[in-house]
Symmetry: C4
């Protein structure tokens, strides 16, 4: 098998994976209509695969998933790439450890984002998954690098794999597209639980040293597949 064939096969596999992972977004109610997307880096190539723009989740097929370079220019596919492709591409250029990205406007996380408030670390699940509060990124208009830069700069100051972009929604990253989807699912889950807790009182923060212990343990020993956790 030539190197070219191998890249082709990798892209086919990633198209299937990324297509299938969108079903997790609808399963957990993170998206409505066409408002959310998953991408994956093509390993060893300056390329990514991503959802096309404006296509319903039900109608999504592996063949509809498009391939772009790391500046969002279409390399392969019949449809236009997601209008969020530039933001994904910026993150892949500046975070070589990131191989998957998810964007949603999931309800509870976006509600925190609309107030510009980080989600405080008041649940063991937040400590486990995010190693502290889930941070807020800047307000940024679509059309240049400002969303991508906002994501990268905010995540650089945090152990979290998810960021709440102000007035906008969630971006989640991972060592794989599946890991990024997990972070997006967990982000909405804890956003909801802490929101509900705060509606009628104050959730108790977890002491920073306990957050560190929980995060270290979870990062090292949870789950069967070491690979899934390797980003942290």
């Amino acid at each position: 098998m030539t190197a070219v064939d191998e890249v082709r096969r990798t892209i086919e596999r990633l198209r299937r994976e990324v297509c299938d992972l969108h079903a997790e977004l609808t399963r957990y109610g993170l998206v409505v209509w066409t408002a959310g997307n998953v991408s994956a880096r093509v390993p060893g190539e300056d390329a990514l695969v991503i959802k096309p723009s404006g296509v319903a989740y039900d109608a999504l097929t592996p063949a509809a998933i498009v391939v772009t370079d790391l500046h969002g220019n279409l390399l392969d596919g019949d449809l236009s790439p997601s209008s969020d492709t530039a933001a994904h591409a910026y993150v892949y250029r500046h975070r070589p450890d990131v191989n998957g990205i998810v964007h949603t406007h999931s309800t509870y996380a976006t509600a925190w984002a609309a107030r510009g408030e980080p989600i405080p670390c008041t649940l063991t699940m937040i400590a486990d998954e995010f190693g502290g509060e889930i941070p807020v990124g800047p307000f940024a208009l679509i059309g240049d690098d400002s969303i991508g830069r906002g994501i990268v700069e905010t995540l650089a100051q945090s152990r979290s794999d998810a960021v709440l972009m102000r007035n906008h929604g969630v971006f989640a990253v991972g060592a794989s597209a599946k890991a990024a989807v997990k972070a997006a699912v967990m982000c909405e889950d804890v956003a909801r639980t802490v929101h509900i807790s705060r509606q009628i009182g104050e959730p108790v923060p977890i002491a920073p040293e306990d957050v560190d212990r929980l995060y270290a343990r979870y990062k090292n020993i949870y789950g069967q597949q070491a690979g899934e956790r390797e980003l942290r």
Copy 2:
């Protein structure tokens, strides 16, 4: 094919489309029992197709969808038209650019409507889809033109395709029945997110010039199907 045959075929197609689009209302939880309806204008004719009154969504078939003139008088169909037909018909008479209308009592949007409060533009998704706040229309009794007039007059002062009718529910319009359903789905989604954000603080408004930029971009370049966005 005669002109009469062509109209007949168009009506058959619209009956199927409108029947199918009701499944989006149940999928996104916008309706319970029989409390919501979709209509489409029959292009070039003084006619519309609409859900019959009091029929369960599961039991809806294309053949059950009825045809009325633009004053709500039955032209074809075995069942009575939706009791909201007069309001749909009024809008089609006064808005030649509108080809589809949806009415729901979706929970969060109706909760804003019960307080008579517009949904403030605090999310990029609201700026994209609605070009500003989602406005409130008057309280109006069913039985004459007051609901239809309230919809048309309120939308005339706004870029929004959705209106919250006071103490009642949502009417959404579009260049097609599908575009109207999209507006209804998005209206409930942002009504929910902003409501939740406001429960424990104040969501930050988006500056009017940024709203304009977001709306202009979205209107012009989002999605694959230019036709779907042509209303705006």
Copy 3:
């Protein structure tokens, strides 16, 4: 066909209907586990059919539905009748116009019941369906007639087909089991919308004369099946 055969057939039909209607309770999320039930009067007989006690909705079959007299004594069936049978039976004895009853602990309606607060008539849907606020009945222990009496006495002072039993849940009645299920579904829907509206402000009440107009119109002309509305 003898009169006995006819009653037998009627009971078989009602067992199927009542069995099927429980699927509406799960579809609309009104019940968890086994905590809710539907019954129907056997017309012309001192008998009712009702869900057996402690049986999962998935496992429910027409044959599992039991028949009791109007004091809750088992007439036919292999399982014990619902522990709420006495309350259903009391209502059938005292309300000859009622042919179907539903009991749920649906979340939002029960939340109002836990505060002992009626649901104010702030939506056209409440005016249409319930003719005014949805009233609260007394706190009552299971085991004697107090629940049934509380239902009947509270409904006697109201146009509503649903009552919020204090600290407990909802009872809804109708001219048929299906009409009662509709009232239970609508009760939860408006309980949720008005609750959400009240979380961040005050929903505007509808003027009593408008409530009367809406209720009169809906009672007389909505829907295809006159029979379904005949109770009101």
Copy 4:
């Protein structure tokens, strides 16, 4: 059939049961991703069956369920046991009447847990199922006996079969795995209803003597299967 064969058969049956019961956790929305687990004691043996760590609910098969001793050491299975196994094992060692345990981070119950607030007994369903308020257990780190000890000590001072572990989530116990799942489902249901009731006022408490009457009746006569209730 030898005694060894009998134990093998019992384990096969429990693996199927425990595998299937996880579907109730997803059905009622108590878990996301892999964050929740069910176990059952192997009767007469120092052993339990439990979900493996980090496996998706969809992918769960009876063969994937693992067997450990009552200190969490793997006896049979290809995968690592749930990271919560030590807590389950501690409870089985100290509560011989408990044969099933469920752990979730279900939203509303965990929201109470994040504030460290018990769920007050303001619904007849709470009195029936839990015999009083649902108590809060201590904050405890994973890795030693502190979670298990926290569960056992908290439940010892209560009639409740569920405990809200501070900043963490719910543990529910039962005479069978199914009874524990029921307690977990009911715990989330009442956590949600009472939370919603408290959002806009104060739910009225039920008098302690009425709580006792409701609990006594429910424990003794509800349902068809006496065995399911025998723990209480």
